[in-house]
C-alpha cells in the first residue's frame, strides 16, 4: 500500500488516507484505527481524526483523517461519497459515530459559540421563502450577534453581488440567487472558517467566476475555506489542495499534481509531436520505461511506466533516432484523470 504512495505529498498529512487500513478489515469490525494522530493534523484549524459516521448499516464516512489549513481546499467526490455528511460533522451539526472533529482545537458541536468562527452554506436549497435576500442576511447578522448588523448585511450582499435582487423575496429567486443568498448568510459575520457545500450549484458561468474570485481573495486573507463539489473543473480551478472522497473513504489528499505523480502503478500517458513519429516510436518501444506507443492522428500517444524514468529517457531516444521533438506533454494531468483513477481502482 505504501509503495503506491511513495512519500508524502507536500501539504498533505502523512496519514491522510486513514481509510486504507480499514479497507482490509470487514465491515463488522471496529472501524477506528489504532494509528496515532499526526501532529500537523491535530494542529490544523479544521481537524478530522479517525472520523466515521454510519446510519444503521450504511457507512457514510469511514475512518477519515485529515487536517485543513488556510487557503481553499476542495472536497471532491461523486454523489453519495459522504461529502455532505463530512461537512455537517465539521459544522458541528452531526456528531461523528467514531473519532473526533476539531475546530480550532475544540470539538465541534454542542457549542453555539463556535458559530462565531464558522460560516456554513448548506447544500440543501432550503430558505425562508417569505424573507427578502436582504432580510435574510440581516437576520443572520443579528443572530450572529454582530455589533452593526445592518452594515454587515450590506457588506455581505455586496460581496456576493446580490444587490439587484436583495429586496425581492427568496421564494422567487433562481437557484443561482439562492446560492448567493446562502453565501451571504455564511459570510455575514466574516468568519475565519468557511464551509461551503456545493456552493456553485445552479450558478451561471459568470456568477461562478465571480464567486471563485471572491473565494480566492478570501483565502488570500488567511481564511480556511473548504468547499465541496462533484465537478472536477471547479475544484481544479479554485483549490490548491484537494480531498478526494470515494464511498465514504478518503481516497487522496494534497496537491492534485503531486497526487498524480504518486500513482506509479498506472501508466502515465504523454503526447508527443516529432519530426518523424515512426522513427521515434521505434526508439521508444525499445525502452524499459515505455509500455506502449500508438500513432494517433499525427502524434504519438505514449504510455510510460512512470513519470520520472520516462522523462529522463525521452530526450536521449530522440537524439539517437535523429528526431526533433516539437511537443511533449502529459495528457492525463487533469484532475479528471486523477479522479477517474481513484474511483475506478
Amino acid at each position: 500500500m505504501n509503495s503506491r504512495w511513495a512519500g508524502t505529498p507536500p501539504g498533505a498529512p502523512p496519514d491522510g488516507r486513514g481509510g486504507r487500513g480499514a479497507r482490509a478489515v470487514t465491515g463488522r469490525q471496529p472501524l477506528w484505527s489504532p494509528a496515532p494522530v499526526p501532529a500537523d493534523v491535530a494542529a490544523s484549524p479544521l481537524a478530522v481524526v479517525h472520523v466515521g459516521r454510519w446510519y444503521g448499516n450504511v457507512v457514510a464516512v469511514n475512518d477519515v483523517t485529515f487536517g485543513i489549513g488556510p487557503g481553499v481546499t476542495g472536497l471532491l467526490g461523486p454523489n453519495g461519497a459522504g461529502k455532505s455528511t463530512l461537512m455537517h460533522m465539521l459544522a458541528g451539526l452531526l456528531p461523528p459515530s467514531s473519532g473526533q472533529v476539531l475546530v480550532e482545537g475544540r470539538p465541534a458541536g454542542r457549542d453555539p459559540a463556535l458559530y462565531r468562527r464558522i460560516g456554513l452554506s448548506p447544500e440543501r436549497d432550503a430558505a425562508y421563502e417569505f424573507l427578502t435576500g436582504r432580510e435574510f442576511a440581516l437576520l443572520s447578522a443579528r443572530l450572529a450577534r454582530l455589533p452593526d448588523p445592518d452594515a454587515a448585511a450590506r457588506r455581505a450582499i455586496a460581496l456576493v453581488d446580490l444587490e439587484a435582487a436583495a429586496d425581492r423575496q427568496i421564494g422567487g429567486y433562481s437557484k443561482g440567487m439562492r446560492q448567493r443568498a446562502k453565501l451571504a448568510a455564511a459570510l455575514v459575520h466574516d468568519p475565519p472558517i468557511l464551509l461551503l457545500d456545493e456552493p456553485f450549484n445552479g450558478m451561471d458561468p459568470r456568477q461562478r467566476l465571480h464567486m471563485m474570485d471572491l473565494l480566492r481573495r478570501m483565502a488570500a486573507e488567511g481564511r480556511v475555506i473548504l468547499f465541496s463539489s462533484h465537478i472536477l473543473e471547479e475544484v481544479e480551478r479554485l483549490a490548491q489542495q484537494v480531498l478526494v472522497m470515494v464511498a465514504g473513504r478518503l481516497a487522496a489528499s494534497g496537491d492534485y499534481r503531486a497526487l498524480r505523480h504518486l500513482m506509479t502503478d498506472r501508466p502515465h500517458t504523454f503526447l508527443l509531436r516529432t519530426s518523424d513519429d515512426r522513427a521515434m516510436a521505434a526508439g521508444l518501444v525499445a525502452e524499459d520505461a515505455v509500455l506502449g506507443v500508438q500513432l494517433v492522428d499525427g502524434a504519438l500517444d505514449v504510455r510510460a511506466a512512470d513519470y520520472s524514468s520516462f522523462t529522463r529517457v525521452v530526450a536521449g531516444v530522440a537524439r539517437r533516432a535523429g528526431v526533433t521533438l516539437y511537443e511533449l506533454r502529459p495528457t492525463d494531468e487533469s484532475l479528471e484523470s486523477v479522479f477517474a483513477y481513484l474511483v475506478n481502482r
Binding site: 453555539p112 456554513l120 432550503a126 417569505f130
Partner: protein, 248 residues
Amino acid sequence: MGRDGTLRQLLVLTARQALGRRRMLLALLAACAPVLVAAIYRIAGGGEYEAWTAGLLNGLVVTTLLPLVALIVGTSVLGGEVEDGTIVYLLVRPIPRREIVLAKLAVGTAVTAVVIGASAVVATLVSLPGTAGPGTAVAALASVAWGALIYSSIAIALSLLTGHALIVGLAYVYIWEGVVAGLFTGTRLVSVHQYVLGVAAALDPTQPSLLPWHLDLATSLVLGAVVAAGATVLAIARLARFEVAERP
C-alpha cells in the same frame, strides 16, 4: 438571554412564518365553527343556555378545536423548519438553543390562544344571553390560553422527537384523552384536557355544576405546569443534540 435582541429576532421570524402560511387559514376557519353553531343556536332559540354553552365550550372548543389548532400550529413552528431544512440557519448561529425553543413556544401558544380564545369568547357571548356571558367568556379565554401553552409545548417536543409529530399528537388527544380517559377515569390525571377543564371550572361561576367531575384549580395548574416545563426542557435538550439529517 437575548441581550443582543436575538430572542426578539426569533420571535419576529416565527410570527411571520406562522401568520404567513396557509395553515393559518385552516385555523381561522376552525375558529369560525363555534361562532357559527352559537349563532344557529340563538336563531333557533333553544333553551338551557348555560348547559348548552358549556357543552359548546367543552365539547367543540376545548375537546376538539383547541388541541387540533395547538398541535397543527405547534408542530409547524419548529417541525416545519426541520422538514424544510431551514433549521440549519438557526443552528449555525451563536445563540443558546433554549432561545429557539422558547421563541417557537411563545409564538405557537400565542397564535393558538388568540385564535381559539377569540373564538371561545365570541361564541360564548353569542350563545349566552344576559349577565352570565362575560364571566364564562373570561374563564374560557383563560383555560384556552392555559391549554394552548401545554399542548404547544407537547407539540414542539414531539416535532423534535419524531417525524410524525402531528399524527402522534392527534392520537394522544383523540384516542387517549378522547376514548381511554372516558373509560378509565384514573387516566384523567394525565390528560391535558382535564387541566383545561379544571381551570375553566374554577373561574367560571356557572360551570362546576355542569361538569360531572373536574380537577381543582391547584392540581390543574401544577400538573399542567409540570407537563409544559417537562416538554420544553426535553425539546431544548433534543435541539442541543439535534442532528441534521443527511437524507431529506
